[in-house]
């Protein structure tokens, strides 16, 4: 195969030809990738990574009870700073050491999820992450 000069010439031509649609994709495709990777804050994870964890994820919704009632990630537990003491027992009932806890809040006020995650860590819960982009990232997932 590698000594087939005709095949090599054809392959080179094909490799160069593919640059044309690839260049157009890079310039104009609405879903083209970002050229620089968004950096993650410590303890943050991107949605695709979290989704790859599958069943081992325990979602925690750090938004208000009203926002939670309106809509939330399927299976998510409400746990916010306003009602921490009331909501914590329900969280502890569903948590187990093999679970990865992923906290989210709405994108605009996502400091809340970091605070909830930090409080969980201080309570001795390991494997606590914050969802990069929060609820907005979940809603706009493809």
């Amino acid at each position: 195969m590698l000594r087939d000069g005709r095949a090599i010439r054809q392959a080179l031509l094909i490799l160069v030809s593919a640059l044309i649609p690839a260049g157009l994709t890079a310039a104009f495709h609405p879903q083209r990738p970002a050229w620089t990777e968004e950096t993650l804050a410590p303890g943050e994870e991107r949605l695709p990574t979290v989704l790859a964890w599958g069943e081992s994820v325990l979602w925690v919704d750090a938004r208000s009870a009203d926002e939670y009632r309106a809509d939330h990630v399927p299976g998510a537990i409400l746990l916010n700073l306003e009602s921490w003491d009331e909501l914590l027992p329900n969280f502890l009932d569903q948590w187990s050491p093999d679970k990865k806890v992923v906290v989210y809040c709405s994108a605009a006020t996502c400091e809340l999820s970091h605070e909830v995650a930090e409080r969980l860590r201080k309570s001795g819960i390991t494997s606590v992450f914050v969802l990069k982009g929060g609820w907005e990232a979940w809603k706009t997932r493809k």
Binding site: D4, L12, L13, I14, A18, P21, T25, T36, A52
Partner: protein, 154 residues
């Protein structure tokens, strides 16, 4: 259909219909392999941003080369697949398909060995939860198909 050629292919035992059957099989394999590459490329060209994330999950190359591969590879797959189907520049297309299958197989084997627990991402979002073992076996079968096609070019 020469008898000498038949004898060469069957180790001296003449099977008069074999070259014709082999040609039919070769045509089927060529169209199936090419068609699969067109499909695989199209599913990824539809959403190159998601494909870049899939590449990143293999943890083999930095983000920027992965993002560039995410916009280039789908079109290369479409091109080589289509050329193999229509039998134009098919030697070059088959050479590239073989190389791509080898690279993809290496990536899948590496992800399997490292226990990454990721999905192949071979067909964009067309097939979810594929893991890496089944796609690796499938790739090896496709490589066997490509090898069979190479024999026809000798």
């Amino acid at each position: 259909m020469g008898g000498v050629e038949d004898q060469k292919m069957t180790g001296g035992v003449t099977r008069p219909g074999w070259p014709r059957v082999a040609n039919i099989i070769r045509t089927v394999v060529r169209i199936a392999l090419g068609g699969l590459f067109v499909f695989a490329g199209a599913t990824k060209a539809y959403d190159p941003g998601a494909f870049a994330v899939e590449i990143q999950r293999y943890n083999l190359i930095p983000w920027l080369p992965g993002a560039l591969a995410a916009v280039y590879l789908p079109w290369l797959e479409i091109l080589v697949g289509a050329l193999l189907v229509v039998k134009r520049f098919d030697r070059g297309a088959l050479m590239l398909i073989t190389c791509l299958l080898l690279v993809f197989s290496f990536a899948l084997a590496s992800a399997t060995v490292r226990g990454l627990g990721i999905d192949c991402g071979c067909f964009g979002k067309a097939f979810a939860a594929t893991g890496t073992v089944f796609p690796l076996v499938r790739n090896l079968l496709l490589l066997a198909g490509a090898g069979f096609l190479w024999r026809g070019y000798r």
